[in-house]
Amino acid sequence: MANLNTDSVKQRTFDAIVIGSGMSGGWAAKELTDNGLKTLILERGRDVKHIKDYPTTNLYPWEFPHHGVLPMDVQEANPVANRCYAFGEDSAHFFVKDAEHPYVQVKPFDWIRGYQVGGKSLLWARQTQRWSDFDYEGPARDGFAVDWPIRYKDIAPWYSHVEKFAGISGNRDGIPELPDGEFLPAWPLNDVESYFSDHVKKNYKNRYVISARCAHLSKPNQIHLDQGRSQCQERDLCQRGCPFGGYFSANASTIPWALKSGHATLRPFSVVESIIYDDKLGKATGVRIIDSHTKEAVEYYAKVIFVNAACLNSNLVLLNSKSSRFPNGLGNDSGVLGKYVAFHNYSAHIGAEVEGFTEWTTDGRNPAGGGYIPRFRNVYKQETDFLRGYACGLSAYRYQQHKYDGVGANLKENLVKGEISPWYIGSHLMGETIPKETNFVTLDTGKKDKWGVPLLNISVDYDDNDMKMQKDFVEQLTEMFTSAGFKNINASTNHQAPGLDIHEMGGARMGKDPKTSILNEWNQVHSCKNVYVTDGACMTSTSCQNPSLTYMALTARAANHAVEELKKGNIS
């Protein structure tokens, strides 16, 4: 028996463990295995193999039981998931259903999750912009949260590193506040988007409308072909999983890459209960999981552990990793773990009608979605009564309008023969929110899930700054649309709950001072250096760029740091 146990422990011992297989976990696995580390990837959900496990990817609309509409019982059973724009008959199998994984909404919070290999990287909107020092210096300049322990120069090479591999389309726009990257060709703006871009350039200082930068292979390089991916075919059905590997997902890219190295082991159905901390050794020694099928607890051991469970679940894992050294959660000497959670403010939209350009339209589909307006508020100096600013998504479109009046042959003919609509243009707010101690998550002291893990209490809300920003977006975009000559301008605001932006960040923030932060400049837990947290949980502030590219870059940087530290013997 003793021998058997030793063998079993040996089989359960790795160089590295990565908790989570999504956007950032896939990157940790890729970088660690590229460096020859024997790596265990833990995923709480099922495996989703590229192409093979995309059951809807090649279906025509009429091949779906309800031609794409979700049955009402599914909608009513999933009020949270159903609020996500991507939750449909073609993609529902990639979303967590509300009843399966409960959490406690102390305040309304739409927690959108994808529990499977690849996580939400299958479902994301694929927008990818770098941060600049206007973002990394934000908290220090404007006096909120804590100072980021890194600057743009620290992360820039890692943005390049991940961009080359993931494949990012974009133009070199030369905008200091939105640094250029390693780009594949951008998808072009259409006529109305281009007109607006020119108008803004001529009439506004430091405001730009650019082609949206996105993680699609407009023109693949060898490194993408080596991953088994090919050129984006402009299907715009990305939420089904892409049979071409046209957009970046962990499933199409980093996970199969890591597995191909021969150094990775993927273990689905592994709910991480906690990270094991050895008080005597003074370090983390492994991870305790519950097999989601057998409900059996299993321990795995490694020299280094990457926490990439997705922002709030990474907080949950850390909070639930209690030891006599860390009675309040791993690395939580400061008491800030779970606090300073923030998100993105998506609470406003504006639309308008555009006169002219009648001879022109578009043909095919634009996977990038259109244009992007980088943050222009409070960039070079504080100029408003609110802190920070917002980016805007932008797209112009026209479509076939049909007359639906009456019944019979005439109606039937009208359904084929359309009349092309005027142009419409729309834009939505993507605002930075300020991390606060009062926006936090905690472990519920009573309720547990099926695997004995405490439920997460989520208490996150908008504040006055967000409402001022919402108002400013409406004012500024109304003014810009008006001066561009757009008509019937219609702004609307909503009170969508935080979470629906799917950009929750923070809780285990990076910082210089262990007294006020959880992670150091390398994403290591200050007081437990062989644990790295590199997903959204690490974010000190949110800025207003789509965050995934920054998670990828931080993860690649941290993983390579871990490899160096192991070599040097600084972690073991």
């Binding site: 309800h66 509409v69 072009p188 095919g364 634009n366 076939q400 019944v407 019979g408 109606l411 359904l415």
Partner: protein, 197 residues
């Protein structure tokens, strides 16, 4: 669900429905509906209404395309309970209204008469449109039917029949060309070159 299962399920629904009415006519439920009860007579009514909305012309109509099966499936699966109740109540009111006005059932009317019944309802009470917002890009099932039952019934049937037709394999391959894999984005494209303009 894999591709084969989806097709198999559709074949089951369509096959079952086309075969059973003749042998089970008048004896109650005959297609597998989970939430609403539809009799053979009601199924015939729905089928006749669908055919009136999308009649056979030089291209197939609702009956030939079996649209009413899909319409019933959508009524059964994709509406809230209270909307289904309103629709079913509306169906009864519809029958009573036609009987009162014409001393005949809808199915006994000729094509012109059937059209007149439907356009009469349509012109009587149009659903509200959403202010000065641009119209929906695609015709979608109504979310909430806050109208009298007769109108709820009519508009649900009309919307679902149009949805069934415009998303049918026939329509999407023969009348328009739905592209699963466009493989292109032309940002500057002459309207005159559009196929459907």
């Amino acid at each position: 669900m894999d591709r084969r299962t989806v097709i198999k399920n559709l074949a089951l629904v369509i096959g079952g429905a086309t075969l059973l009415p003749s042998c089970l006519k008048g004896s109650g439920n005959y297609i597998p509906l989970k939430h609403i009860n539809i009799t053979a007579d009601q199924e015939k009514l729905v089928s006749d209404i669908c055919e009136t909305i999308i009649p056979k012309t030089d291209v197939p109509g609702a009956r030939e395309l079996n649209l009413h099966i899909f319409v019933l499936k959508m009524l059964d699966d994709c509406y809230k309970k209270k909307d289904q109740q309103a629709i079913m109540k509306g169906m009864d009111e519809f029958n009573a209204m036609v009987q009162k006005k014409y001393s005949k059932s809808f199915s006994d009317l000729d094509a012109k008469g059937r059209e007149a019944v439907l356009t009469g309802i349509e012109n009587g009470n149009k659903p509200k449109t959403g202010g000065n917002k641009p119209p929906a890009r695609r015709f979608r099932p109504q979310k909430d039917l806050q109208v009298p039952p007769l109108d709820a019934f009519y508009w649900a049937l009309k919307q679902q029949t149009i949805f069934a037709y415009t998303t049918s394999q026939f329509f999407m391959t023969k009348e328009i060309v739905y592209e699963l894999v466009p493989g292109r984005y032309n940002a500057h494209f002459p309207v005159k070159n559009l196929k459907t303009a």
